[in-house]
Amino acid sequence: MSAIKFETSDGFTIQVERETAVVSKVVKNFLEYHPTDKCTFHLNCVDNATLRKVVEWMRHHKDDAYIETESDESDEERSQDVSIEMDPWDANFLNEDLFFLLDILNAANFMKIKVLFKNCCKKIYLMSKGKSSVEIKRLLKERCDFTDEDLQRIANKYEWMARVN
């Protein structure tokens, strides 16, 4: 059985069976144009822990029909798909801390695994849903580069939102 190797940014190599590896669109497209039994993909922005998690997800979903049929969407289409329903296994699988989730998201983006990518987005959305800007700032560890005046202006602009249900 042919196997595909992934080399992570921290120097590890993980061997994955071909039918699992082709869940990644990058691998699938490459193998379509360059049929080979052995090849190594260098994932420069994915570390070992993240890749292991992604591979686990790929193994679980390798037989799913919707993974096969997923197509390239435009941004417009993507923005319209805002359903937050998620497979329960995925929901449980993605119960990780935010920054590990972001690593998985980045890896899914890099390896073009749309379903995993979308599910990570949904999970992160659920984490930040209903939070105030201060809470989101704390959650995302984002540096606030606004002055007090800026913040006041932004608050005033959408002040009516507080009044509308």
Partner: protein, 413 residues
Amino acid sequence: IIDIIPVFFNPLHDEISNALRKYNTWRCAEINNEERNLGSFRNEWNDVVRKYKGKENRSVKLISLEEIHNLRQRVDQSYFVERLFSFFVDDHVAENNCQAFVENDKDSDECEEYFRLSLDRFPDEVLMNIINFLPGRDLISLRAVSRRFKCLTELRIKKRFPKTLIVTKNTLIHSVIYTGLFFPNIAEVVIGKKHSSNDFSPSSSSISLNLTDICDMLKEKLHTVKRLFIRKNIGLIGSQDENYLIEHFPSLETLEIQSIFLFEPFENLIVNSRSLRKLSLIRFKMLHTESKHRIINLPSTLKTLKLKWNESKIDSQRILLNNELENLILFDVVDFEDLLRSACDKPLFSLKKLNLLTRRNLSLEHAFFDRLHSLKRLTLFAKQLTGTPLAERKCFSVEELSINIKYFDDQVT
């Protein structure tokens, strides 16, 4: 993985250091640097190669100055590059006594930890996918997190909360009410399409809703409106109180009226508006009623006045230009010379741009041109220039002159 090592000579040290700070950002890209001819530095180069070759998966390459320049240009295109510089430091470089990197190296653990736990390493397209799921209220919260999130959420917010109310012949009363209920920050109201009919008769009105209806439905919601465009005869509102419009649109900054009679409510809106900065009157007619002799004194806040294609004579005595006007555009206005003549009593010190466009002859006879002391840009489009030659006019301040004359007359032009 390709490493670039700056061990060569001092004059190039800074250049190479800077390039090194940047090259990490496109680590993922395939970069094939060819070995360059190094002349007398060949031996030193060989030492470096020997020292580092075979370690991990690294190879040692030298880069030329041209390439450094090229690298810089490419790296500068990445918005997130500045942050990345400080977080990725190469051990190899530090070992080679590059001070800048040695300093950075001390904090590299902290920096890398911070970087791992920051969103800076995620490109916008990734974050946009998360933002797409957020409902309106969360978008507003996210807006106040940082500048980056403000930019990212801007597009979604604009789509989610429209600020423009457009009323066309197909607009139903329900949609206006809906807009008023759910989008209270309306900034712009557009009535009619841009190229609407030139017919003034009330019967030609194809808009089912008139302005009075809209005002009645939205009431105080219109207080936030800054731009009002009326491009269609929307039915008579002359029977209304003359302060009707100014009460509904107190924050108006831009007003464009097209194919319409100037009734008292409109005149009042223009004269009494406290923040009107731009006024465009296109294919308009002045109403000759008992208020015929009433003077439309343009507000002092008005900076731009555009009159276009009026088909009847403007009673020039009725429109008084203000001193603060900076931009005046007269486009095929029948009696614009009268208007200019009436402005001759005023110094018009602030006027910076003047555009006179007509299909007829343009006379430079009157003293108007002598009063434009701060005019910077003058545009004249006409069939022919007549009267006093332009050179004799005191338009010394003009920096930009654009003239398009069908029948060119050397002496005058």
